[in-house]
Amino acid sequence: MKNIIIILISIILTGSVFADELNVVTTYPYIASIVEQVGKDKVNVFALAKGEWDPHTIIPKPSFIAKLRKADILILNGAQLEIGWLPPLMRQANNSKIQVGTPGILDLSKHVELIEVPTAISRAQGDVHPDGNPHFHLDFKNIPKISTAIAHKLSEIDPVNKATYEQNNNAFLENYYQKEKEWTAALEKLRGTKVIEYHKIYDYLLRRVGLQLVGTIEPVPGISPTSRHIESLEKIISSNDVKYILQDVYHPDDASKYLSSKHNIKLKIIPHDIGAVSNTNNIFELFNEIVRRLIGD
């Protein structure tokens, strides 16, 4: 009887009796998909945000605290994308493994090169990203850097399975480079095409593909379009051969639709993360779908 009680208490306190898998919590679904590729059956991964939500403003559900409480590793996008929702959840999770400054945290933004780092910061420019544009995962060339950083982190926390993580990562990369060649080839014909986007969420992708951004629907980050701003966009459109308007799934699309129909510009909904639209269940499918939507009519 005494033993049963002790076992019960230890289950309650640690929850770790059956935990031979590493509990990995990620902030966004794209990270979880890469962790699945690298960790396979050695990890149990959970993404907090849903892919159809605005990644800047995630509603901090208390159930996220429960997930963070049991995490061995927390992998975040970083570059302040989670600043508006994650810090209080981390404090409430009472998990010493995933405090800032501990090895249980992996900040992916530290493993890629950030673009659009502002030299002067004022919120008169809207809800600016002070460390640079944080939407770096949409450059498909950044994914190998991310998967390798994840493999290193998993190996650091779970050294017993280091070889497995490295092997999985290599297998993933081999596959990935193959797909990446296909994507690059398919997108080649878009080089130099002029586009407008809603928020500067696709900038890394645009750079990679060679698409030329001539304007954004929102006048400054986080602010909805004003009629004056739409007018100025129309001037840009009339003097440039704008081919596409790229719109995410979560912002209202009335301004984009208006410009699209008035100026006969194709409006394309581009998924920014896994689950934003159907047929984007993993990182491969996400880029397949992005490429399909970009090159299709």
């Binding site: 309650i12 306190l13 509603i59 409480r69 404090r91 409430q92 998990n95 405090q99 800032v100 809800d127």
Partner: protein
């Protein structure tokens, strides 16, 4: 106390000098540069314009019978409050300065200071542990108790401009803000489950006083508390069903209370109590997420206060008498808030004070026991750093000389924040 603002101004000037020095000459140049250690700092300002169909002087005489004294009476007993949104015309509700940072691998530290027309006060100043094992956390210092749902939230997180009436009735306009310690534990379950308890000094203006008192003649004397005087316990749980999130909690506050309302003056109605007090809470929040920018939230809390103890009062010739007093009072609020775009929310709240039983020297007082208030609001949030809110209150809780005084008020509130990026609350 009055020196604090100057210390802080000096502090912030130092920080600024340090920061600009750093940007000019890059960090490498100064071997003793401290600028990387500047804590997160933000400042929040809340101002409002209130229109009420009752004159300020008259309004100050009104009370919520058995629950909230009139403003005039409160100040006569030495409680001076610049309460939020309380006067017709412009109100400076507060300027809130928040300073927060990690101390070391073991502690985080938070300071929240309120600058109001009352002066400068430490609203909160507490530490949180970062590295306790097994899901435990300790909080210590001065903080808003985790009792209930909204008590620990600062006013700018509320969906309405003023505190629910039942909270104001039981805890006063500052809520249950106490000096003490808290321990909480998050269970390693798949759904959210949290337990916690607090040991607090017990210095609440309405329900849990720690300071003793004696009358003018010295014939009665209740000594001050020598130890923490108030205990709370709370439990919260939450789970998701598809796009619906359910959050439920129960909590209780238990204490020995000494409350002096002028027994030490020559006021004929001066009295004091020495009693056992307990306040119980049950709360439920349901949030349905329709899509990224659209959700509906229903939130309700029920509170019940039960006290029993000694009453000290004065007879017709001013001699202090000892009697007994007991209270059984309850109230609730229920609110529905619909966020219908990235920038807009509307909401409705129903406040009700519904049980108001006070037995004084074995006779039950004749008090109103159905006192509702209806509020509605519409809010525009141009960015995450600014908010403009229009709120209407139809208040049927105010009385003057036993007559109900229906009070209608409209207020326009502006809340702005600068500095470190705040986070949303659930």
């Amino acid at each position: 106390m009055n020196k604090l603002p100057f210390v802080l101004i000096a502090f912030s000037i130092l920080i600024n000098v340090n920061l600009s020095a750093q940007t000019e000459q890059q960090s490498g140049d100064d071997p003793f540069s401290q600028s990387k250690f500047v804590p997160d700092i933000s400042f929040i300002l809340d101002v409002s314009y209130l229109y009420r169909d009752i004159k300020n002087d008259d309004y100050n005489l009104f009370e919520v019978p058995g629950l909230i004294q009139s403003t005039l009476e409160e100040s006569a007993h030495g409680h001076e409050h610049a309460e939020m949104n309380s006067r017709s015309g412009f109100n400076l509700n507060y300027g809130e300065l928040v300073v927060a940072s990690t101390v070391d691998p073991y502690f985080d530290l938070f300071g929240i200071f309120h600058l109001s027309s009352e002066g400068f006060g430490i609203e909160e100043g507490y530490f949180l542990t970062r590295s306790l094992p097994l899901g435990f956390q300790i909080k210590g210092g001065k903080f808003l108790s985790s009792f209930g749902r909204i008590n620990e939230q600062h006013a700018h997180y509320w969906a309405f401009a003023n505190m629910p009436l039942v909270y104001k009735s039981f805890f006063g306009s500052h809520g249950l803000s106490e000096i003490g310690m808290q321990i909480n534990w998050v269970a390693p379950t798949d759904f959210y489950l949290m337990f916690g308890g607090e040991l607090l000094q017990g210095n609440n203006e309405t329900s849990f006083g720690a300071d003793g008192f004696q009358d003018l003649s010295g014939s009665i004397k209740v000594s001050s508390s020598n130890a923490p005087n108030l205990y709370t316990g709370f439990m919260r749980t939450s789970f998701d069903v598809d796009n619906l999130t359910v959050l439920a909690g129960i909590s209780g506050a238990f204490g020995k209370s000494r409350l002096n309302h002028g027994i030490d003056t020559d006021a004929p109605d001066g009295h004091a109590v020495y009693e056992d007090a307990k306040i119980l809470n049950a709360n439920l929040t349901l949030k349905y997420i329709i899509e990224s920018y659209r959700d509906i939230t229903f939130q309700t809390e029920f509170l019940n206060k039960i006290t029993k103890g000694d009453l000290y009062y004065k007879d017709s010739i001013g001699t202090t008498m000892k009697g007994d007093i007991s209270k059984d009072q309850s109230g609730l609020y229920s609110q529905l808030v619909y966020k219908f775009s990235q920038y807009w929310r509307i909401g409705f709240r129903y406040d009700l004070l519904m049980k108001n039983e006070i037995v004084r020297n074995s006779s039950t007082l004749d008090l109103p026991d159905f006192m509702p208030q209806l509020s509605s609001m519409i809010e525009y949030n141009p960015t995450e750093f600014s908010r403009i809110r229009l709120q209407y209150n139809h208040d049927r809780t105010k009385y003057f000389e036993d007559n109900l005084k229906i009070n209608n008020e409209i207020l326009l509130q502006i809340n702005l924040s600068i500095g470190a990026h705040g986070a949303h609350s659930f």
